[in-house]
Amino acid sequence: MNRHLPFSPSQEQIYEEYLKDSDALDLDTQALAYLEHVLRTGARLVILTGDAGHGKTHLCRRIIQRHLGYGNASEARELLLTKCDGASVIQPAPHARANIALRIHKDLSELKPEIAAELLENAGSDKECATIICANEGRLRAVVASSAARGICNQISSTFVATFARGTCSVDGSLHIINLNFQSVVSSPGNQLSLFRRAARQWVGNASRWNQACEDCSSNLQCPILRNRVLLSNEGDPAPKTRLSRIEQLLATVERLGAVVTIREMLMLLAYLTTGALNCAAVHTRVESLKPGWQHRYAFYNLLFEPPENLSHARLTSGIPVLGPLIDLDPGRRSIREIDDALLNGAEGFIEGQLDLQFRVTVNGKSKIADGASGIDDIAADPTTRRDLASERELVSGIVAALRRRAFFEDAAQESAVLRRLGFVYGESFLEALQGGLEPIKRIRLRARLLAGLHMIQGLRLSGTETMLSLADPAFGRATSEAAIIARTIPVSQIQILPMREAWPQKSGEEVGRIVDSVDWSERHLVVRVTSADRSEDLKLDLLGFECLARAADGYVAEGFYAHDLRRIRNFLGRLAEQGRTEVDQIRLFMGGSMHTVSVDDGMIQVAGGT
């Protein structure tokens, strides 16, 4: 596991080409299944695109094994190193399922754009051989825009645009683009386990491997790595399952806030939160040199939100970027009365003596061990100086944060309640809307809330049951406006709230591949669609944008905190307002909580009272 950490000098061994069989973690992704399927059904050119770490090269190796029939992973890796240059043709093994040879290029960025464009043109027109190309989107854009780009490159370009506009990854069945940036590491369609859960099962839950290494270890009772393994290994005990589920929910939240989590990053995270970047030797050294009570820093739930003492925040977040947004979600920083009361009084029900709940504290000059399971009474001191007071405050807040985190991972609450504990008051509504198929009453309530939010951020304090979306003239559209001219109104019947999957046009006859089927898909965005006679405009809302609007509906707009989201939403509303602006005889004015009409006649202005 240590090799997967970005702080390890042997990290390069986790790259597919250099991986040992014993270290390989073969996760069957939806992308692999889709790739196999399209190769079987006539695809001639498949482009795998997405961030580094999604597993593009891994997919190539797996397809060599599974589709071309090279059952031995080492043999497949050898082919990866020697034949995946885009020129060599790999023939199927004699007993293989494949009936056509494959040409693979595992990294298009190794070639100049013109040469790469030529390669694509040739590959697309080759009827004898199918081609798989791995390329990040930047390189792909440069290639299809190069001077050598012709028919196939133009086709790639239009399919690529369709990926975002229509949610398709192929329009003709011959050319496919699998965009792995849409892949979710925590998606669990049907009863399938998510990629994260499957990785955790193999790494943390593999009892024989752990027992072999840890059973006779002299430090096993003091080892934080083993403790994390116990907390996370799913051996029939419901508690570890809940903990793993919480980590999944955290990752899903991060994805819904706009971050892309690659499989490599997910594995790095799993390795980090199990080991805390410690290895067996480091644990032995610590056990021998330190007094007990240091292990709580390495408990997985603390590692997720607070770097251990030997790693700086900057190093950690640059190595494992997903930790950046995760740290922002720290449940240890949120106070919820009923939970805190139970924790501080020791009534949460933690069993005493657990390694991760032992804290070394210094009270009145004496160092001792405090058990977090008993609350914080043990560490109450009698500070007489400011320094003592500050030190006690720091100590208590550290312990309380750790207890809150542990409680967060113990409580078998619903996912919606989890979001509330992370600070998203309207997280439940967001999740419901993402699932789609809302009952009419819920759909109407949700739309009314978002409508009220859209009004509020324009400074229009209208009722929560409005049946029209009023758009203030963009000159006024601020929450602090005392008055505003209404430039346009749109009936709510023209406004839809859709999950991303439904916002894309439904599959038409010619389209054969859809993004949602090509990867482990999870819904991350809602789309507010405003349709008028000749066009429709979409506003994409992630979890934070939704929360911003839903909270605004309550009457308060946190301008500073949501500044960026508000700017984007107001620009959208401004554009909508201008599109439908017409000359009118009577001007509608919103002021003091009600609508007024303004008439201009013979150079005289008259404002009629509220309606």
Binding site: T49, G50, D51, A52, S109, N136, E137, G138, R139, R141, N181, G258, V260, A314, S318, D473, P474, A475, F476, R478, S481, E482, A483, A484, I485, A487, A563, H564, D565, R567, R568, N571, F572, G574, R575, A577, E578, R581, E583, V584, I587, R588, L589, M591, H596, V598, V600, G603, M604, I605, Q606, V607, G609
Partner: protein
């Protein structure tokens, strides 16, 4: 009738025969940059020129005349006791309507965050969201009349000191004919004459009640800005303006805000560049702290602001060519730059401990000015090719390396800075992240 800067309005103590800030500013920057006209005023002045010019939008001929509106009636409505009841009722039917108009107009005035008390009407300018909100400076003057002194509204420069005139001149003297035409077309679309919005209708009714030039006037300040040397900074302004006006998929209000901000921002960047050139120094980039995480970068951004202002001061003294110049006159030029930078959100605050940063308005303006209509540029090109190479702003690692900052600061600080800027741009919708290797900058709203 001519319009000249009213240096006599707030006379600054100056030594007999000494050179004034007006002369220094003209010789150094090509136009009058004065502390009174700092912030959004140059942008407002520019649009007053554009819409007031009798010879059409951005005429190429030398002599031009403008018709100026004071919009004093609506502005005075906001200051109690400045218009009598009878005059008010000639336009606004009753008290209820008057209160409504006051509240409406208040939302349209320029936000002056640096003021601690409510500004008088002479300092209250309407933001030019529609054509009929565009107006000129005005004040009450006493005039000799048959029955004694008469107090009358006079249209004259007070806060429009010449920054906008310079910008107007730079635009209309564009040697690139195609670009000039596209800017003209963009300005026409900004204030379409064939569609009168409700706001336009109200504003024009109120404006008609205010003072206006009876005959078009010549503007001496604009006249003096003509023929200033062509350099990269003039080109930068035209390039940015053409791009901003070309983004017609965005709301006109967004383009207007960006144009006003861009005019102020350009004056700051241009001042920095021309001051460095006049002192014979190489480019003096401004260090921007977008992240707010590293104290070293924060200090560098604070120091960069101080250095920038000191350089302006040194260049102004040098431009005096040995003639006497008072500190007050130098302060007027220096104050323009700090005030304008704060006004366009290039600084964290108007007062106190200030450093260079990029506020949301500033980011949006820079993106609209950088990206040609219907196109997108890579984030790397934006940060290095645009912000650093063309605007002289250091945000990313490459720019820091090129400007020698990596000798004293760690490169990772600038990586974080760059990433933070990308994060902010992404949230506003100005950056599309396709993959870790591909981030494209494009104005939100473009399809």
């Amino acid at each position: 009738m001519t319009s000249v800067p009213s240096d006599d309005v707030a006379p600054a103590p100056n030594l007999p025969g000494a050179v004034t800030s007006t002369e220094i500013s003209r010789s150094l920057f090509g136009g009058i940059l004065d502390v009174d006209g700092a912030g959004a005023y140059p942008g407002l002045e520019l649009l007053a020129f554009v819409l007031g010019c009798e010879q059409g939008i951005l005429p190429e001929r030398d002599e031009i005349t403008i018709t100026r509106h004071a919009h004093d009636f609506a502005r005075r409505l906001l200051e109690p006791g400045t218009i009598d009841e009878k005059s008010r009722r000639e336009v606004i039917v009753d008290e209820h309507s008057e209160q409504a108009m006051k509240r409406l107009l208040k939302c349209l005035t320029l936000n002056l965050e640096n003021l601690t008390k409510e500004p008088g009407w002479e300092r209250s300018h309407f933001y030019p969201y529609t054509g009929s909100l565009v107006h000129w400076d005005a004040r009450i003057r006493k005039h000799a009349g048959a029955g004694g002194a008469i107090r009358r509204v006079q249209i004259e420069r007070r806060y429009y000191r010449g920054g906008g005139a310079l910008a107007f001149n730079v635009l209309r003297s564009d040697p690139d004919r195609g670009r000039l035409d596209s800017i003209r077309a963009g300005l026409r679309l900004l204030y379409p004459i064939d569609l009168v919005s409700p706001l336009d209708k109200l504003a024009s009714t109120l404006r008609a009640k205010g003072a206006k030039d009876s005959t078009p006037v010549t503007d001496e300040v604009e006249e003096h800005s003509r023929g200033y040397r062509e350099d990269v900074w003039s080109d930068l302004y035209r390039f940015g303006t053409a791009n901003i006006l070309g983004h017609t998929t965005l709301a006109a209000v967004t383009r207007i805000r960006a144009l006003v901000n861009w005019t102020g921002l350009w004056l700051v960047l241009m001042g920095n560049g021309r001051a460095a050139m006049s002192l014979g120094r190489g480019p003096q980039p401004l260090v921007v702290d977008c992240a707010g995480q590293h104290p070293q970068l924060r200090r560098a951004a604070q120091r960069s602001l101080k250095d920038h202002l000191s350089m302006i001061e040194a260049a102004a003294k040098r431009a005096a060519s040995g003639r006497q110049v008072s500190d007050v006159q130098i302060g007027k030029i220096r104050g323009f730059f700090s005030g304008t930078a704060a006004g366009v959100r290039l600084l964290n605050a108007w007062k106190g401990r200030r450093h260079i940063t990029l506020g949301l308005d500033c980011i949006e303006t820079l993106v609209l000015a950088c990206v040609p209509p219907g196109r997108e540029v890579t984030f790397e090109d934006f940060v290095t090719g645009w912000l650093y190479d063309r605007c002289g702003l250091v945000v990313g690692r490459e720019a820091a390396a090129a400007s020698g900052l990596l000798r004293s600061l760690d490169a990772s600080i600038f990586e974080v800075n760059e990433a933070r800027l990308a994060g902010q741009m992404s949230t506003i919708g100005l950056l599309t992240v396709y993959s870790d290797a591909t981030r494209m900058v494009r104005p939100g709203g473009a399809n």
